[in-house]
């Protein structure tokens, strides 16, 4: 470890680790992933009791008012056990956006989320939008006092578990424009909303969500009309950083598993960890994890001090890209060093690689974040 944690953070990390050790060993994970829902509400309630659903929200909204560094400690802990849950999509992403977009209603709307009675999901991506957040073609037309929603959203994380959807839609302008995007609160049971749910290859859940003439009351608009994009960008940045922290947890577990394995696996009359080719691979895995840890917590600590937005975005991009690079290297190398047994479904190795591969593309792959940093530089 490179980053020193505060006493509270160390406490948080230790209690989360103890909890997950108890309720979410690898065998349980297999059962949960194979179940219809992909996770168990009973497990969720234990996490709620620990306070992690309240963690990122201000105290005025019933939260604990913790910062980005604390959130990264939580996400790292979840990643270390490869927990499959809607935490990131519901609490961090959608919950975080709701708190920023409509603070006056957040206490009411977030109450059930914090208590663990309801999940949220954010529908922002569209087919063909790749990683752009402003390529929105889903339309919200004024209709009487409310709106009429028409369009389709893709890869909506954990939509099937959500009691409420937050949906980005175009209230004016054309796809690709920064202005004209609004945010709506949508009941997934409402007439005209349909879901095609699926499991993702890392064991999580997502859905394609279709809106066909969905009537929205006036109060479904969250925040100001046409101005939601910066809020959505900020929420996705927080999620991207949180995912990078989750990747760190995955990487550290893979490194520990791999070190264990190369110490005990005997070939040619000695542990394979005695061979330089294996040692160098392990050394580089450790360097990759250290680098990821440092970038993630540097970004989080800067966020907690609220430095300027451009620096903040640059640090988030660096962390997310590094999560992609470190994640692929560590995931693939861990599997390689395990040899044939690394391919087994009964070992956690491949499942970490799957999660790291999903994290790599969620909220922008490394190429996307390289481009974003280049653009930030061009503007400055």
């Amino acid at each position: 470890m490179l980053v020193g944690l505060t006493e509270d953070q160390a406490l948080l990390r230790d209690s989360l680790t103890r909890l997950l050790d108890r309720i979410y060993p690898f065998e349980t994970r297999k059962e949960r992933v194979a179940s219809e829902a992909g996770f168990a509400e009973a497990d969720w309630q234990e996490l709620v009791d620990l306070g992690i659903t309240a963690a990122p929200f201000p105290e005025a909204m019933g939260g604990l008012g913790l910062g980005q560094s604390d959130l990264c400690v939580i996400q790292q802990g979840l990643g270390s056990h490869n927990l499959v849950s809607p935490y990131l999509s519901s609490v961090v992403l959608a919950g975080g956006l709701l708190a920023q977009a409509a603070p006056e209603r957040a206490a009411d709307l977030l109450g059930p989320v914090i208590a663990g009675r309801q999940h949220l999901a954010l529908a922002y991506a569209e087919r063909g939008s790749r990683y752009s957040l402003c390529h929105v073609t889903t339309r919200a037309e004024r209709d009487g006092s409310g709106y009429r929603l028409e369009g389709r959203k893709t890869a909506v994380l954990w939509a099937q578990a959500a009691g409420r959807l937050l949906v980005s839609a175009r209230s004016s302008g054309a796809a690709g424009e920064r202005d004209g995007i609004s945010l709506f609160l949508v009941d997934p049971q409402a007439e005209g909303v349909s879901l095609r749910p699926y499991a993702t290859n890392d064991g999580h859940r997502a859905a394609e969500v279709f809106f066909s003439g969905v009537q929205l009351p006036a109060d479904s608009l969250l925040g100001q009309e046409d101005t939601a994009l910066p809020l959505i960008e900020a929420a996705c940045d927080r999620a991207a950083l949180a995912l990078a922290a989750e990747a760190l947890g995955c990487c550290l577990s893979l490194n520990a598993e791999t070190l264990d394995y190369v110490r005990q696996r005997q070939q040619f009359g000695r542990p394979i960890g005695k061979f330089q080719v294996v040692q160098h691979a392990c050394a580089y895995m450790s360097i990759q994890a250290d680098t990821l840890e440092a970038t993630v917590f540097a970004a989080a600590q800067h966020a907690d001090r609220q430095v300027d937005l451009a620096t903040q975005r640059r640090l988030v991009s660096t962390s997310k890209a590094q999560a992609g690079w470190s994640g692929r290297f560590i995931g693939e190398t861990a599997l390689q060093l395990h040899g044939g047994i690394g391919m087994s479904a009964d070992l956690p190795i491949g499942h970490f690689l799957k999660r790291l591969s999903a994290i790599r593309v969620l909220f922008g792959d490394p190429d996307y974040h390289v481009r974003r940093v280049k653009q930030l530089d061009a503007v400055a």
Partner: protein, 400 residues
């Protein structure tokens, strides 16, 4: 990109292409192009066509019913097969590993019994080499074959026996004696998988595959005539085969086919600023990969096609084909996963039936690609890991 520095096989190339286009059944071609498994029944008509043409056994001498192709002809044949979407790995162990070993080391009975059956595609083979404690260190194998009258009695287990459940016979190496060096006292047997005492336990793989297994032997009686080569000669035979396996898994043609499919997808899939192929970052990566593959193809050309290459007769030089072939095969699946982005997230197998709709409106190309990436991690592990292969180059080629 074609490498035809002195392509005296141009006519042959076109003859092969014409034959494949005329006779490859659509069902086989479509399944192959979609990366789907092809069962025995679907494959049989195509194999029968190859048998009829005399092209089923490309590398065997004509005396045994083979095509008697030169290595260069075999190379061209496989290139064209991949280009035309014909399956390459089909029955490959029987044709490229077992049969050449029987031709070289087998008894008359083995030649008479096995070669015609292999030729007709009647025997599917699995390989019994690795054991739980003998992977990279293959010579540490312990599964015993003890002589008892006219039989050998086998006890122990083999691991990573791909397709053991679908296979008719196993070719494997077993310990017949404990001597001063672990490489001594190993013998190769051909074993009927229906023999009493054999049980197969599948090892599900993390990407959802069910092709690999552990195979257990309890007092399995194998007739002595199924010993291939002499007792104690198994290590020599295994090395003979592993050299050929390295050659086989280079698979540049397969990687090229994957790249072609990826390029088509990148051209057709629209993003916010045009197609993915219009994205300079992605297209730079794709073309860089295409160039690395072309460079590697030149290596393959000199090693496999050019009789003037001084490396042609040096099996250890072939090791670089396994290493680099695995690297590039894996790299194209990585690039594919990056190209798919979040489209690659749904956990869907390649469609079982053509034209089936998963309800998500994904391009046909997408389902199965992520699993392909996860599954392809194995190519730098099996047949001797890339680490072991680099040791071979360092030791045997470079003399370190």
């Amino acid at each position: 990109m074609d490498l035809r520095f002195h392509d005296d096989l141009a006519d042959f190339r076109e003859e092969v292409r014409g034959f494949i286009r005329a006779h490859l059944p659509d069902a086989v071609r479509e399944r192959q192009q979609r990366g789907m498994a092809i069962d025995r029944a679907t494959m049989k008509p195509w194999h029968d066509q190859l048998v009829q043409k005399g092209w089923a056994a490309r590398g065997w001498p004509e005396a045994f019913g083979g095509a008697g192709f030169t290595p260069a002809q075999q190379y061209v044949f496989h290139q064209v097969m991949a280009e035309e979407g014909a399956p390459l790995g089909h029955l490959s162990w029987g044709f490229s590993l077992v049969a050449p070993t029987i031709v070289e080391y087998g008894s008359q009975w083995q030649k008479d019994f096995f070669l015609p059956r292999i030729l007709r595609g009647e025997i599917y083979w699995c390989q019994g080499f690795s054991e739980p404690n003998a992977g990279s260190d293959l010579a540490a194998l312990k599964c015993r074959a003890d002589r008892d009258g006219d039989d050998y009695v086998i006890n122990g287990s083999k691991i990573w026996t791909s397709y053991a459940l679908q296979s008719d016979w196993m070719f494997g190496i077993f310990r017949t004696a404990v001597e001063d060096r672990p490489q001594k006292g190993i013998s190769m047997f051909l074993i009927d998988m229906q023999t009493p005492g054999i049980s197969v336990e599948p090892i599900p793989t993390y990407e959802g595959g069910a092709e690999i297994n552990q195979t257990f032997f309890t007092d399995v009686r194998v007739p002595a005539r199924n010993l291939l080569g002499g007792e104690g000669q198994g290590w020599e035979l295994a090395k003979f085969q592993l050299g050929r396996e390295r050659y086989n898994v280079a698979q540049v043609a397969v990687t090229k086919a994957l790249l072609r499919r990826l390029k088509r997808f990148a051209r057709e899939e629209a993003g916010p600023e045009g197609s993915l192929l219009d994205d300079p970052q992605f297209s730079d990566r794709l073309y860089r990969f295409e160039m690395e593959l072309a460079a590697f193809e030149s290596v393959e050309h000199f090693l496999l096609y050019d009789h003037n290459s001084p490396a042609e007769q040096d099996p250890d030089r072939m090791t670089l084909l396994k290493i680099r072939g695995a690297d590039l095969h894996q790299a194209v699946t990585e690039l594919t996963l990056d190209a798919l982005g979040t489209l690659g997230l749904p956990d869907l197998p390649a469609p079982a039936t053509l034209g089936s709709n998963d309800g998500l409106g994904l391009p046909d190309y997408v389902p199965g690609r992520a699993a392909e990436y996860f599954n392809t991690r194995k190519v730098s592990i099996y047949g001797g890991s890339n680490e072991i292969q680099r040791n071979i180059i360092a030791k045997n080629v470079l003399g370190l």
